[in-house]
Point group: C2
Chain length 192, copies 2
Amino acid sequence: MDMNTDLFLDNMRRHIRLTEEEEAVVLSKLRPVKLKRREHLLKQGQVARDLAFVIEGCLRAYALDDNGFEHILQFAPAGWWISDMSSVISRRDSLLNVDAIKPSEVLLLSREDQLSLFDDVPKLERYFRVLTENGLVSSRMRLIENLSLTARQRYQRFCQTYPNLINEIPQKYIASFIGVTPEFLSKIRSER
Amino acid sequence: MDMNTDLFLDNMRRHIRLTEEEEAVVLSKLRPVKLKRREHLLKQGQVARDLAFVIEGCLRAYALDDNGFEHILQFAPAGWWISDMSSVISRRDSLLNVDAIKPSEVLLLSREDQLSLFDDVPKLERYFRVLTENGLVSSRMRLIENLSLTARQRYQRFCQTYPNLINEIPQKYIASFIGVTPEFLSKIRSER
DNA sequence: CGCGACGTTGATTTGCCTCAACGATTGTGG
DNA sequence: CCACAATCGTTGAGGCAAATCAACGTCGCG
């Protein structure tokens, strides 16, 4: 079987050390999937069953508000996990959509398999705890920044934090991420 | 020894089932502390070493921006955990302050003890993973709401989510939490 | 009692949105 | 390979939600 798992193994090994057998058990649960641009991995109203590890391309998670506007909560370039943890954990309908910004490839892990892996390979629980902790940290960070920074400052911060993404994805997605209209981001960028 | 741990044990038992010995090991690491109104558990610039479980009163976590304004990220009434996870995890200086809104009592657990407990009582890892997951969920929820709701709607949402807190804490804290000035919250409330 | 913290109210300002028009670029089918 | 549509970014005029600033009433507390 020929799935490109190097990026994933690198990522996991940065946090925990497993035996070869254990790694094989984990890998056996991962399902590789290719996505076209705009193709959805998850739509709101569905229950999210899978976590996705991006090995190529870039995905995004976004919410649609009552007026039909998109609000991007997370970008996931290669090497990142993405999904609606809220839905995965609670098994309730997702409020988020996840789709591919560009042609991408991901490894899927169902919540069911994840939980059974926690029993079979207990060290894995630590790996995902750390990931969740990091997710919490960055989510809080964004909350602070949204409460205390102006749009201009949030854009500068985005440029510092995701220098790779800036030239990789359409500008309107960046606007949606930092919480302004595409028009206003354009005006910000034109100043100097 | 006379520390009121019922609330904590209730909370933990809702997630995992431990033996009496295991519970005793966990309890042995908890240090009870009383806080006066306004007393700080953590100030920004320090490295947060402790997680705090509130057994009485109410605490808050807030960030100070460059202009000296406070932005409250979390309230923790009795039965809630609070701290700056970001600092605890990364061992870097905290960006948050944590203090008591009213006279309070908390149980402290150092990160060091938490990690050693993960080795001694592996089931505990699950408890904290779930807590962190829930924290992530609510943090994301707030981010969505801050991006997509008006101040009026955020206030209504706050009233639904924390009906107990509304008459318990000064209004300016609620303003800080939902991300408006105290003056504007006052105007919102006076409409109808 | 008198002071400080808090909430209210009003006048004014401002950061960002809305709407509309217009190039530039990309993509697509003939 | 061209023609055309769709998508995207830019620019400008006008509008609105919320901030700012200031004054004032009220309450709790030393």
